[in-house]
Amino acid sequence: MPRRLSHNSSLLSRTSRRRFLQGSAAVLAGVGLSNCRRTVGNVDTAASETTAAAPSSGAAGDGVLHIYTWADYTDDELAAQFTEATGIDVKIDVYDSNETMLAKMQAGGGANYSLIYPSDYMVTEMIGLGMLTELDKSRLVGLDKILEKWQSPVYDPDSSHSVAFSWGTTGLLYNSEVLTTPPEDWNYLWENRDVLSRKLTMLDDVRETMGAVLSSLGYSYNATEPAQLEEAYKKLLDLKPALASFKSFGWQDELLSGDLLMSMVYSVEGIPVSLENPKFKYVIPASGSSVWTDTMVIPTSAPNVDAAYEWMNFNLQPKVSQETVERLFFATPNGEAMSMLSKELLDNKNLFPPEDLLAKCEGIAPVGDANALYDEYWTKVTSA
């Protein structure tokens, strides 16, 4: 799930463009490299495990820690604090989608990363591909402060490969001065097609946008039934007159200037806008949206594993977690950090939604072969 990259829209898309270029380069390189082995994109785990083992014999926590993450999950301040506490330099690269990250890692372009931040479903997928190191829990301090829910999450049942870092939801951010009846559920979009006429954006993300439509039909966000997907596709086509575009980034300027009335957004991007300008409100649709968790993991190809553990421990500290939440506005799975948050943030129903609403939200789960079907309907929707 892409996160807020920056407040400046042109800069942020520049970043994603650059990511894209690097990604494509990685893909090409991967095609070339992996072809020699007759297996496409299979990370050379044997070779990397030896490199992973080598640095751990040296002094704990020296060298440079390379992190591959969503932009703004780790700001300069966090990196500086970490360097001050441990003496390890941090180099951060960012990606804008789980799939981009996976492609780069599979193509072997991520061999110098010791730590990455995949989302829930991607953790499952990467464990399945044998790309993640099983964590040595004796080296992690403060795991017990993680709330029970994330001690045994669906995506990684005994948390053997991942440490939950943040979570959030997907919802609708809208201009409450123009849309005076507050939207409550996804069906609002279809009922108000005329008002929204080309002033609505939805996420440029198949699983999220199709998931929202599936949810409005009363189906699961992770439906795999072809008939249900077909129905969702038809319903999404119905909404097209209301749609300005499918956009994950760059909707901010247009929403603020009134060119858009509503955008489907990730909470981590929507909530800061609603806090800065009360005219804009964030709402989680009543029939449920997606709830995501981003995690910290160590890839099997990781060099400098010690530094990666240091980084995990550093972020597990409640104080650090609390401060990061207050800067970047994501919900934390760290119970002790939550208790340290200001009442204002804790009471924010968007940041920490009530349990009954959360129960209706689903995490995006791998759908296996249905992915091809999702992609096909997406192509149909965007080329109709």
């Binding site: 520049r14 007759r38 496409v40 994109g41 799939e99 499918f246 200037s257």
Partner: protein, 302 residues
């Protein structure tokens, strides 16, 4: 071959072959570095993509199990043909618009503008190319969106506002803007060496300016028109940025589709490779048309 029948002739032949080999060493050596790069960075990747395109539904991490044409057959489904058609329409429209706008400008630059200003004017025209195409596309968002600069001007003048953002028109505008300098540059080179005495001769023989233009100027500059058109067509066919940012919800083009196959949810590298091969073939077809009918002295442009 006749010479080869006589013994003395064979000897001469061998020595000429040796001589020929010796004299071809130098050009070969000079071509070597460029050829090596071309092979490593273009030929080899294309062959690899070509191979992957014959593996049906190949996903990263999967071994190659067998080859087949399924990826290519899938492109023939209406959904994907529609995408190809849209890309081709965008590219053709952009090429025509660039020609329509670029020819008068190039004509003026090459034949009518004061000579000492020419180079400066040309540089000014190419200047936008120095900034990132992404930034220029973002600038068009600022201009085209409902509360943007264009509508502000229109409403101040009391004219009806336009809703161009997120429509195919926005794509045409953005791409034409992006690629117009290429067209002007090539047409300029072609028009600059137009033999003006031919126009005078045409006038002497009673042709009015319009007839002279269509029967002398246009045929004389046709190679330039073809080369410029091709360059614009090829680049706009594969453009990713403009349709993505300006095109709205119905702007799936072949380059976006390829991106989705590699980095999207389907991760179908086989199908993505097949689409890439089709794009490469479309571009090659355009280039071979140029080689056949276009400028026979392309070195004149450099």
């Amino acid at each position: 071959m006749e010479g080869g029948l006589r013994p003395e002739g064979r000897a001469i032949n061998l020595s000429t072959i040796y001589q020929g080999f010796k004299s071809s060493l130098r050009p070969l050596g000079l071509l070597g570095p460029a050829g090596l790069w071309l092979f490593l960075l273009m030929v080899l990747p294309t062959i690899l993509i070509g191979e992957l395109s014959f593996v049906p539904g190949l996903k990263p991490g999967q071994p190659i199990l067998g080859y087949g044409l399924l990826n290519y057959l899938r492109i023939l489904e209406p959904t994907y043909l529609q995408v190809l058609k849209r890309s081709a329409t965008f590219a053709t429209g952009t090429t025509l618009l660039c020609l329509l706008l670029g020819f008068p400008v190039a004509y003026w630059l090459a034949l009518m503008a004061p000579k000492r200003w020419r180079n400066l004017l040309l540089v000014l025209f190419i200047l936008p190319l120095w900034t990132s195409s992404l930034l220029r596309t973002y600038a068009w968002i600022t201009l085209l969106r409902p509360s943007g600069v264009i509508n502000l001007v229109l409403s101040t003048l009391g004219l009806p506002t336009q809703s161009l953002m997120n429509t195919p028109w926005a794509v045409y505008i953005g791409m034409t803007y992006s690629f117009l300098p290429y067209m002007v540059l090539i047409l300029y080179a072609s028009l600059e060496r137009l033999d003006l005495s031919l126009l005078e001769a045409a006038a002497d023989l009673g042709a009015n300016p319009r007839v002279a233009f269509w029967r002398v100027t246009v045929p004389q500059t046709f190679p330039g028109i073809a080369a410029g058109g091709l360059l614009v067509f090829v680049t706009s066919l594969g453009d990713f940025v403009v349709p993505t940012l300006l095109g709205g919800p119905s702007s799936m083009t072949i380059s976006r589709l390829i991106y989705n196959q590699f980095l999207g949810v389907a991760r179908n590298w086989g199908f993505g490779s097949a689409l890439s091969m089709v794009l490469i073939l479309m571009v090659s077809a355009a280039i071979s048309l140029l080689l056949k009918y276009g400028d026979r002295n392309p070195e004149m442009y450099s």
